[in-house]
Symmetry: C2
Subunit: 155 residues, 2 copies
């Protein structure tokens, strides 16, 4: 139930050619408070309910709990979420032994591209591809929950 | 996913002798906002995650979605809930063809006893036992989510 993750801005779209999968994600929040976010997500034809706790001091480690739920239930639950739906295309890009998830945002967050990498420990070494930019792991403005309330275009 | 329910105050403890089951419930909220409550509940040795939408005009009908979750996960998720845990003993009391759930609250809500009945339609007829008091279905103060923030003893 512990997720260790680091997040980076993306400098160019050179990752596109390296991506081996592309999935549309639509998600909204039953609670966008970073102390206890509750997210409803539809990823292609699957529904998910995800709960996350607050990040630690570096923002790298958070409690995370997820369960798959029926697509129809996810659609129903989206109707009672807070306003501010996140719409993005997730590209899965393998770099060395790790997988980067590169999210290209649409709608109110168009223009934002963010890459995340999940790690086994906080100090795990990983390869940084040329298109990887500044680290924003500890910057709450880039939390999707925050983007649902204060979208990138409004910055 | 639609729940139709009516709620009443309880006048006496005469229901105790009619109860055929008694279960301890401990619950707290990942969101206590009545527009979209998210509840973590431990009922005896089982964990549950429940999401409810806003009530209709009469407060009788709400969207409700529930899933059982592992007890250990529920215990972990309780640690990131809002403060204000609800602790109560639920008595199941059969009256005619219906089941009343009579909740005897403890802790900060001690002194409060509330009975709920689940119906198939808003206008369904049901028997009212002698211990049943005033209807409070539409009174948000008696929502458990509200009681977690403003407990009965503080009224």
């Amino acid at each position: 139930m512990i997720e260790i993750e680091r997040k980076f801005l993306v400098l160019s779209d050179d990752f596109i050619n390296e991506a081996f999968a592309k999935k549309r994600i639509v998600q909204a929040y039953l609670n966008s408070n970073p102390e206890r976010t509750v997210r409803i997500r539809i990823k292609e034809e699957k529904g998910f309910l995800t709960i996350k706790g607050k990040g630690n001091a570096t923002g790298t480690t958070r409690l995370e709990w997820e369960t798959e739920i029926p697509l129809q239930d996810a659609e129903k639950l989206l109707t009672i979420c807070e306003s501010g739906t996140i719409d993005k295309i997730r590209h899965e890009v393998k770099v060395g032994n790790h997988m980067y998830e590169v999210d290209v945002f649409a709608g109110e967050n168009e223009g934002l591209i963010v890459a995340e990498i999940e790690l086994q420990s906080e100090d795990e070494i990983f390869k940084k591809p040329s298109w990887l930019g500044k680290e924003v792991t500890n910057d709450e403005r880039f939390y999707n929950a925050y983007l649902s309330v204060k979208p990138f275009k409004s910055w």
